[in-house]
């Protein structure tokens, strides 16, 4: 499909609102963004993404979507996972190993308990 005007671009933005992986208060979708830039992949993030996928399936969660994202700047703390639950502040996790990934699903996603040990606080003003 070719967009044929600026209006069409704006309309496309509106129409695809529910398909994007950004935090969306109106959606019921939970997004797990896994750092898959070179730094993340080198630290094993592909494996972590697979574990998150597997665990969500095991728990019967069908509203969880796992997406790759770029480098958030914290290469030291890769693999990183950002949890985006509609209506809640996003949570950045760092140093996510398989055990932590399982906990993120079992504790944070299922029970709503944040996995404190892996929370990463980064002060960033986004533009």
């Amino acid at each position: 499909m070719k967009l044929s005007s600026w209006e069409a671009l704006k309309q496309y933005r509106e129409d695809t609102k529910d398909e994007v992986s950004l935090l969306n208060p109106e959606s019921t979708k939970i997004i797990l963004a896994v750092g898959e830039a070179t730094c993340g992949i080198a630290a094993g993030s592909k494996k972590i993404a697979a574990v998150l996928q597997e665990e969500s399936k095991k728990m019967g969660l069908d509203n969880v979507e796992i997406i790759p994202t770029g480098c958030y700047g914290c290469c030291y703390a890769e693999p990183m996972v950002e949890v985006r639950i509609p209506g809640q502040a996003p949570v950045h996790y760092g140093y996510v190993n398989e055990e932590a990934a399982k906990k993120i699903i079992a504790e944070h996603i299922v029970k709503g308990i944040i996995v404190d040990k892996n929370v990463l606080r980064v002060e960033v003003t986004s533009t």
Binding site: M1, K2, L9, G70, A77, E123
Partner: protein, 486 residues
């Protein structure tokens, strides 16, 4: 200490899914391009970039708006927009991260530039060693073209722009813009004299605008939010933010984007979490092989293009390598010279031969055969190479030597006068000694590959210096901290 980062170039990195154009569009993507095509004249676009004060992030800090204006004024039916994604500085990965995390930002900016200067084709020169960046760029180009955001008659505006990738084979000199263009044309990656500048005589001898990845990544936000907004960050002469790849002896290795004018201390001790293992900070290397080492006494300097040059270094593309007391500054200078001597294309004599001579002198010093006159000859030859080399590679390659000689002369003197390496890293100069902490456990003696450590059980051991090969095995095996080097 808490220092907040401001993300402009990295605004989408780690936020969007870079392989899904819908994410980019949801964040306002391609609105800047549409705004230019439908609501701004070519001159208005250039004017906003000029007013924003955006300067090139690839090294020299040339004002981007003026570059675009020159290319716009150049008369030609064919013009090109080039993106320099060669990123050759050791330890730097800002551009790779932008391309891997937000490829559309760069593509959108190139189309904006194409509209502004009157070009219909964009070429991204990206190193083949960045396979993931290449893959994400390819996906991005495909998805954007499919939506009619590139190609013929974009969004029905009448403006057409196509995008192409060209893969570099990893030669550092190909990051230099004229070499880069030779390389795209299938020629040797060798530079030529400037002027004429690429804006007038560029790719295939046509007017060409070439900018760095990060420079482009700033453009869409500037168009959307305006020049005054952008000037709200950074300093008068260096507006906006800069991305640094902070590596080496810091607790938090990674990417940092801060307003220009932030101090080195805020970056290194604040955001990057300071030096590990309680060691002391010694120097920060900025500007890659063209830059220099900044010592502790200048940690509070607000960083911008001019202040770094005043300190004998430069901004470069944003690599920042932090060193602690265990790093030998002569060794660091030698590391960079080894790099530049190898990467010199050989076209001009000062760079081809001069850098080799500098490297030989440094090697003599780190091998323990240096004399004090060597330091003067490093200075003289370094200055000559800077004055006479053909391109930026040679014109800046002596900087790592000159800046370390300036700030860390004592270390050079220890090497040439006492044949001693104070940091204990120059292998040929290092001396291992066993101190009174030795309990006579015999581990060192049993592990020494040349059996040059002797001593009775439960008695202090000693090393026969004449036979020691300085491998460091004893040092790492000792569990009592009884062996020292220096």
């Amino acid at each position: 200490m808490s220092v907040s980062q401001v993300r402009i170039a990295l605004r989408n990195c780690g936020v969007i899914n870079p392989e899904n154009i819908k994410d980019y569009i949801a964040r306002g993507g391609y609105d800047a391009m549409a705004k230019c095509l439908f609501a701004m004249s070519q001159d208005e676009v250039i004017d906003i970039i000029k007013k924003s004060g955006l300067r090139g992030r690839g090294g020299a800090g040339f004002p981007t708006g003026i570059k675009w204006e020159t290319a716009r004024r150049a008369q030609s039916d064919v013009k090109y927009v080039l993106c320099n994604a060669d990123e050759g500085d050791p330890g730097a990965f800002m551009d790779r991260s932008v391309l891997e995390g937000d490829p559309h930002a760069v593509l959108e900016a190139m189309a904006i530039c194409g509209y502004a200067i009157g070009a219909r084709e964009g070429v991204i020169y990206v190193r083949a060693e960045y396979p993931l960046a290449v893959k994400r760029l390819q996906i991005a180009i495909e998805q954007a073209t499919e939506l009619g955001l590139f190609g013929e008659n974009i969004l029905g505006s009448g403006f057409s722009f196509t995008m192409r990738l060209y893969f570099g084979a990893g030669a550092f000199v190909c990051g230099e813009e004229t070499s880069l263009m030779n390389s795209v044309q299938g020629g040797r990656g060798e530079p030529r004299l400037k002027p004429p500048f690429p804006a007038n005589v560029g790719l295939w001898n046509k007017p060409t605008n070439i900018n760095n990845v990060e420079t482009y990544a700033n453009v869409p936000t500037i168009i959307r939010n305006g020049a005054d907004w952008y000037r709200g960050f950074g300093t008068e002469k260096s507006p906006g933010t800069k991305v640094f790849a902070v590596v080496g002896k810091v607790n938090k290795v990674g990417l940092v984007e801060v307003p220009m004018g932030t101090t080195l201390r805020d970056i290194i001790e604040g955001i990057a979490g300071g030096i590990p293992n309680g060691k002391r900070f010694k120097a920060a290397q900025t500007g890659g092989p063209s830059g220099g080492c900044i010592p502790a006494e200048h940690l509070d300097t607000p960083i911008d293009y001019e202040s770094l040059i005043a300190l004998g270094s430069m901004m470069g593309s944003g690599g920042m390598i932090v060193m602690d007391e265990d790093d030998c500054m002569v060794g660091i200078a030698k590391f960079y010279l080894t790099f530049t001597a190898e990467e010199s294309c050989g076209k001009c004599t000062p760079c081809r031969v001069g850098n080799m001579r500098l490297l030989e002198t440094l090697t003599r010093i780190t091998d323990g055969h240096g004399v004090e006159e060597d330091l003067t000859s490093l200075e003289n030859l370094g200055a000559t190479i800077k004055d006479t080399a053909l391109c930026g590679l040679g014109q800046s390659s002596p900087n790592p030597i000159l800046s370390t000689l300036h700030y860390f002369k004592d270390e050079y003197l220890a090497h040439v006068r006492e044949h001693r390496c104070p940091a204990g890293t120059c292998q040929k100069l290092v001396r291992y000694r066993i101190t009174d902490k030795c309990v006579g456990c015999t581990v060192c003696a049993r592990n020494c590959p040349v059996s040059c450590i002797s001593g009775d059980r439960k008695q202090k051991h000693s090393i026969d210096q004449s036979r020691c090969i300085k491998c460091g095995v004893c040092f790492s095996k000792c569990r009592f901290g009884a062996i020292v080097k220096g």
